[in-house]
């Protein structure tokens, strides 16, 4: 929840930590190597800021030292007339081949925790 958080990267970092805690309920000291997340380029997340917030909130916990690894996913659209999928570069929301603007965004808005890597 947003209580006492001022930027949404911080609340997103807290949600990520909450999900990690469900999978590794009692982490031994420093046994989490990394947390991998996918972040779409259209999800309005500043990745440096998210990493900063994540490192700040795990500071004195057993997760200390865990790295937040971010995979930035491009914006992909499906064109209604070409019937194909293409990558686009916002703010241009049109098919890069035929110019049609009847498009559907198929990826680039995601904000997912993909996996947690542990030291053995």
């Amino acid at each position: 929840m947003v209580n006492n958080t001022t930027m949404h990267e911080l609340s997103v970092a807290q949600e990520i930590l909450g999900i990690v805690n469900q999978y590794v309920p009692e982490p031994k000291s420093n046994n989490i190597k990394s947390v991998k997340v996918s972040i779409g380029k259209l999800s309005n997340i500043l990745t440096d800021s998210l990493i900063f917030c994540f490192e700040a909130i795990i500071g004195d916990t057993a997760l200390k030292g865990a790295k937040l690894e971010i995979i930035e996913t491009p914006v992909k659209i499906g064109c209604a007339s070409c019937k194909k999928e293409y990558e686009i570069e916002p703010p241009i929301f049109a098919c890069p081949i035929c110019g049609n603007n009847q498009i559907k965004i198929v990826s680039g808005t995601e904000l997912h925790v993909d996996e947690i890597e542990l030291f053995d």
Partner: protein, 216 residues
């Protein structure tokens, strides 16, 4: 090295509460709009003019979101409609849980339209579903005509666009034509309204559109 596969949405908790909100709104047969814009573009004024112009047609309730103060709720309260203020204490957007709690305070009242006025910010509120039927993005002419290109996620996620303060066009560096063109290049399905809360221009068309959305 062992790997735990997670594959979970970071905002799944918010999304789950948003779905509960959507169910509650549906049960009450509400048409719910999430109003998003930068600070000072006229969200509260639009709410006020809408309440004033439709008071004989339908009943409106309002959830106000702000970082500080209940000034907006006081303005809306003067119209005698159910209103709750959420003060986020610094947070830059509303989340579904805050809206659920606020809705609990007004749901016993009789109304058909719910406005959720988000925190003034064109970035963060785009990612948080509150359970609304649709998002309405408001942009004022004083902000310039390039805002849709700078904040595409917000314009892409909205169903309607209100271009407000059109009475100021002669005095500001903003082309309505460019603003419309930029908005439609991000989202060709936007319904566009051009309004002034000072002269009431365009408010009737906006109210007519809301009226067409109500299922009685």
């Amino acid at each position: 090295m062992s790997v735990i596969t997670v594959e979970r949405k970071v905002l799944e908790k918010n999304d789950a509460i948003a779905q509960q909100n959507r169910d509650s709104f549906k049960k009450k047969n509400l048409f719910t709009m999430n109003l998003v814009s930068s600070p000072g573009s006229g969200k509260t004024s639009i709410v006020e003019r809408t309440i004033h112009n439709t008071k004989d047609k339908f009943k409106i309730a309002v959830i106000e979101g702000d970082v500080q103060t209940s000034l907006d709720a006081q303005r809306v309260d003067a119209y005698g409609v159910p209103v709750v203020q959420i003060v986020t204490q610094g947070a830059c957007h509303l989340e579904a849980g805050l809206v659920r709690d606020a809705f609990g305070q007004i749901e016993k009242n009789n109304f058909e339209i719910l406005f959720i006025e988000n925190v003034g910010n064109l970035v963060c509120p785009a990612g948080y579903d509150l359970g609304e039927d649709l998002k309405v993005v408001i942009v004022s002419t004083t902000e310039g005509d390039d805002k849709p290109l700078k904040y595409p996620a917000m314009f892409r996620n909205a169903s309607a666009l209100i271009i407000n303060k059109i009475d100021l066009v002669p005095y500001v560096n903003c082309s309505l034509e460019t603003l419309e063109k930029n908005s439609l290049s991000i989202n060709p399905s936007l319904h566009i309204f051009k309004t002034s809360c000072t002269t009431d221009e365009g408010i009737a068309e906006w109210c007519e559109w809301i009226s067409s959305k109500i299922t009685r």
